[in-house]
Symmetry: C2
Subunit: 335 residues, 2 copies
């Protein structure tokens, strides 16, 4: 299942509207097929792994991070059928499918065809690996990660706005890797205009994985009016040198229709505060340099906190690691 989770991670940020599933087929202690959901969501991980294993699948065990789907679509057959047809003896899944079209029916279908099934293996990790898919299913919006790069005293810049550099090269490279795992990236208008950030992925081999860019601001051409749930307006060219499409989003609640299951929010303080105030941050990526800045720009603006007790119990430390001389901490919103 560990190998299947690692394979599934390859698709993260590229499989919308499908979850980024991973799959490994094992026979007599040997891996005979490996698959992961392909960009755009098809083929599914199981289909890819079965194609690789071929006739050897008969009698094998298939490990998959999500219950195999039970619904045919115009884009392909149901995985549960493919698995049964291939003669797989046993299916082990990490989680049952939260998609109401499947929700246990994949296993039902497998059992009816004589395939043994089990689920719940490394479930918590699998749920995290599909965080985008689940946020879309449950909340109708992308999974939102807020990235902060601060000094030990929580500053993101000097009083004059200079922030190059707080963190070192390994931390900045990691932040670019995180970008590649998100379909969309968002900054506030202030950051956009002050820093003219490229917001792309500058890692060798991953240049093609740059996310859609979004700005938290009213579109200059927009007439106003209440936020709608229709797609946000888009510019072909905004600012000098930017040729990729840019989305304008006038409020955090407008992220719902973004064509993305994973949204990375990267500064500044007011944008961070807007997402936190709306309780729309699911994950916090905190890069911390071992420096003290003192007077300077704070990481997070006013989130309307009136009582310290309300701040507690919301964030859970998932991971902490050293990146060069900096620390990365990953927190998850408890829901």
């Amino acid at each position: 299942m560990g190998a299947a989770l690692a394979l599934g991670a390859r698709g993260r940020g590229r499989t919308t509207p499908n979850p980024n599933v991973g799959c490994v087929i094992v026979k007599e202690g040997r891996v005979i097929g490996r698959g992961w959901t392909q960009p755009g969501g098809r083929p599914h991980a199981e289909a890819m792994a079965l194609a690789q294993a071929g006739a050897e699948s008969r009698g094998a065990t298939l490990y998959v991070t999500l219950e195999p789907c039970a619904h045919r679509s115009e884009r392909g057959p149901a995985c549960a059928d493919l698995i049964a047809e291939a003669g797989v003896a046993r299916v082990v899944a990490a989680v049952e499918d939260p998609d109401s079209r499947t929700a246990g029916r994949g296993f039902e279908r497998l059992r009816a065809a004589g395939v043994a099934g089990a689920s719940g293996v490394r479930q918590a990790e699998a749920l995290r690996s599909f965080a985008g898919f689940i946020a879309r299913q449950r909340h109708g919006r992308p999974h939102v990660t807020l990235k902060l790069a601060t000094s030990l005293d929580g500053r993101i810049a000097l009083p004059d706005g200079s922030s190059r550099w707080i963190t070192g090269e390994p931390a900045r490279a990691h932040a670019h890797l995180e970008r590649s795992r998100h379909e969309a990236i968002l900054v506030g208008r202030g950051t956009w205009e002050a820093d003219a950030p490229k917001l792309d992925v500058r890692l060798e081999g991953l240049e093609g994985r740059s996310p859609i860019r979004a700005i938290l601001a009213r579109h200059p051409r927009e007439s106003g009016g209440p936020p709608s749930s229709s797609a946000p307006p888009m510019d072909e060219q905004v600012g000098p040198g930017f040729r990729r499409d840019v989305l304008w989003i006038d409020s955090p609640v407008r992220v719902h229709p973004l064509p993305a299951d994973h949204l990375l929010v990267e500064g500044g303080a007011e944008t961070a505060a807007a997402f936190l105030s709306a309780d729309l941050v699911d994950r916090l990526l905190l890069y911390r340099a071992p420096i003290l800045i003192g007077a300077g720009k704070a990481a997070i603006g006013d989130i309307g906190l009136a009582d310290l007790a309300d701040a507690h119990g919301r964030w859970h430390l998932l991971d902490a690691r050293q990146l060069g001389s900096d620390r990365l901490e990953v927190y998850e919103r408890r829901r």
Copy 2:
């Protein structure tokens, strides 16, 4: 040597003007004497361990965190002489004494008496254990620890000043343990007047270890004039309910004559900034709660940082641990 270091730690904050040394005497694989510098600096660790071991010391090995002293004083004989007289066969020290009255002469004296010697075992840890003694020797001032208790975004209070509680009970208990290891504790006048902090040690069995209290502010009765190196003024009673002496210190450079080898600086932001600006902070105790506050009081005021490059390379992470749901990080100033 690990045991000797642990014994030495018992004296931390209580042995001024002497270093808090630890000592273990071992014979045939068995510990026959243990000692640590007693409150006020005498007896020395070696004298205590030798007294415990008695006649068994003959032929034994003595482990001590600091080179035995070679100077007689009116308060007692030189440890090197005591060790030689007891017939100890071998002395292993962590560090040579930085006190110019000894500085290698302890070992010389031992060698002359036929006692074998070696030093440098767990030296870095030992140097840290004597940080107060060494700061006094080298810089003529106490070793200064700055304590901060912040949210993940570096806030120490809400905009209205409320800070109860950011960290949880285990972190607060640890902060009290740290107080017991310091001879003096200092806060700014703002914190003193706003919070009326007791600044004592509220841990069972350690109530008697409360440090001398100091306030960073001009004494109300003082006429002014440039900072002197004489002892700071003292109040018998300042503020309602406070009966212990309080020292008034009008500038961080005035900490030099404090009757303390270890000074703990606890808030607020301007006091932290004053000590950091004067580059008088040797150690940073950072308690961090897994909460976000947003708008609020910053941990550190203006330290006059004009270039981010100047902030780097100063702080080294020594220790990181979980205290309940909070994290403690200990940083050391690289000098």
